[in-house]
């Protein structure tokens, strides 16, 4: 019986090196920009993440944004955090998203609200990301809600994603927690943005040592850094990320910083592709979405493969 799999999952199973992008929904009630971005990424990315009020700033909802992506002919990956919803709301939203044709989701704990634009808000954190992953898996495999009650028909069958951050501490615990996420039901991973390839490689060694790359698909997160200024800002002010000095210097000394930025990102992707156990890249071009096609092209990621049995060209 052929299961109604997502395009993303099919490509992983075909053994393709998968490319995903990311769209941050706007702080407004207009989906025009999302559709434009989705159309723009079509043919360059296999699927697109829709962030869920990232950095705890109120934005158009990830599921609604996913609908705009679907309309534009793309393949959405719905992000779902535990910050704003309890288990009732999460499951309800997942039923809704699946009913609209969204088949991939990414489970996150979510940024704390103190970093966002409503720092005095109450948070929820009824479940954490690992419990969330298991909840979605149980809905699919055991056909039950979190409470144990049977889902009589039409259970949501999401392709379950999770995140891993090789740059947070304690280092080894990152790998154990990833394993725990796999045990809970995570099928694919997207990592935090990687600049420090050395640390990433060490981390992948630990991942392989525990055989995790054979139990889930791992996508490495990359970000084209537009200028030396952006790099310097991120180096100093974004926690959970390691920006090497060489990168800042290289950008600073470049005649055309943007061209250099693309070059660096392309080099990183080519390097990452060679690391054993990495199944794809997740390109997070925050504030520079229009550059993704040219990065995909230069990194030799084109043309994007077709997923067997799925006619639609996704993005």
């Amino acid at each position: 019986m052929s299961e109604n799999k997502s395009r993303l999952q099919t490509l992983f199973e075909q053994g393709e090196f998968v490319v995903t992008g990311e769209i941050g929904p706007p702080k407004s009630a207009n989906g025009e920009g999302i559709r434009k971005h989705a159309e723009h990424l079509k043919g360059y990315c296999d699927a697109t993440n829709l962030t869920d009020n990232q950095t705890a700033i109120v934005r158009l909802s990830s599921i609604a944004a996913g609908m705009h992506v679907l309309k534009a002919g793309g393949e959405p990956i719905i992000q779902m955090t535990c910050r704003d919803r309890n288990r009732i709301a999460i499951q309800s939203d997942l039923l809704g998203a699946y009913s609209l044709g969204m088949k991939n989701m990414l489970c996150l704990t979510g940024d704390h609200q103190s970093f966002g634009n409503h720092p005095t808000a109450a948070n929820v954190f009824d479940v954490d990301s690992i419990q969330l992953i298991r909840m979605v898996k149980r809905m699919k495999d055991e056909k039950v809600f979190a409470c144990g009650e049977a889902i009589k028909k039409d259970e949501p069958r999401f392709f379950i994603g999770a995140v891993a951050n090789p740059f947070a501490d304690p280092f080894e615990v990152r790998v154990y927690r990833m394993e725990k996420k796999i045990n809970a039901g995570a099928q694919f991973f997207q990592t935090q943005i990687i600049f420090d390839l050395e640390r990433f490689e060490r981390w992948m060694e630990l991942v392989r040592e525990r055989g995790l790359h054979e139990r889930a698909y791992i996508m490495a997160g990359v970000m084209p850094v537009k200028s030396a200024k952006v790099a310097a800002y991120m180096q100093k002010n974004v926690s959970g990320m390691i920006v090497p000095d060489e990168m800042v210097t290289r950008l600073k000394n470049a005649e055309d910083q943007q061209a250099e930025a693309v070059e660096i990102c392309v080099e990183q992707i080519k390097h990452i592709r060679k690391i054993k156990g990495v199944s794809g890249v997740h390109i997070m071009a925050v504030g520079w979405e229009e550059i993704v096609p040219s990065i995909a092209e230069k990194a030799g990621l084109l043309p994007r493969p077709q997923a067997a049995g799925i006619a639609r060209v996704a993005g």
């Binding site: 704990t109 954190f125 990301s129 995140v163 615990v173 725990k180």
Partner: protein, 223 residues
């Protein structure tokens, strides 16, 4: 113990502005230990309020008393006469004390002088930290005696999240408690326990289940 902190003086002054004779009521338990509402603090606050009002044209008369515990009727019975004399009672106890005072003296206006912060203890002179989240179902045996419910900013039960940096939490200047839990479990040789997925918590035993009431028939006295 319950940790509390005195409200800003201006706020207390504003709340008492319409009264001429007040009773400042201290509590000899937790708030004495955390230097917020004991006998000494009662004296200081009373003097400050009097001095402030002396500057205006409406002097304030203060009565001062500190009871063993404000959260028990029998200790409040002892101040009945004093309470009658005052127009309002400024309770320098935690939120529990304030409410017991209000219930015991229903015809008196009661003002809280403290902000109740947490259930915890002093780790250093002048530093008090939260320790218990009062979740109603203790899981400390699973986490090496370190509580993620009270001490993780996201109260996650399968931590640490990606915001753990150099043993610190990215949300505030506190230790990442999951970092501590891992270190402790490693030291105790129980790391494998942490690979068990901690299931969704039963929050109905916490505040989420509505106000909690503990009934023990074995110690009830029939009247």
């Amino acid at each position: 113990m319950i940790i509390a902190e005195q409200k800003p003086f201006e706020e207390i002054a504003k709340m008492t502005a319409n009264f001429d004779k007040v009773l400042l009521l201290g509590c000899n338990e937790c708030v004495t230990v955390c230097l917020a509402g004991g006998e000494k603090e009662v004296g200081v606050l009373a003097a400050s309020l009097r001095m402030l009002r002396k500057q205006g044209d409406r002097p304030l008369i203060t009565l001062e008393e500190t009871v063993t515990r404000q959260c028990e009727w029998e200790y409040l019975d002892q101040i009945e006469k004093l309470a009658e004399e005052a127009e309002c009672i400024i309770s320098m106890a935690c939120g529990v004390g304030v409410q017991f005072v209000a219930e015991r003296f229903p015809d008196k206006w009661v003002i809280p002088a403290l902000n109740t912060k947490s259930a915890g203890g002093s780790v250093k002179h002048g530093i008090w930290e939260e320790r218990c989240g009062l979740c109603g179902e203790c899981i400390l045996y699973k986490t090496g005696g370190v509580c993620p419910v009270a001490r993780c900013s996201k109260r996650i039960l399968n931590g640490p999240c990606g915001g753990s940096q150099n043993g610190k939490c990215e949300v505030k200047d506190v230790d990442c408690i999951w970092d501590q839990i891992y270190k402790r479990m490693a030291a105790l040789g129980r790391m494998d326990w942490l690979m068990e997925i901690e299931p969704e918590k039963d929050w109905s035993k916490a505040r989420d289940g509505g106000p909690r009431k503990l009934i023990r028939e074995d110690v009830m006295i029939s009247e």
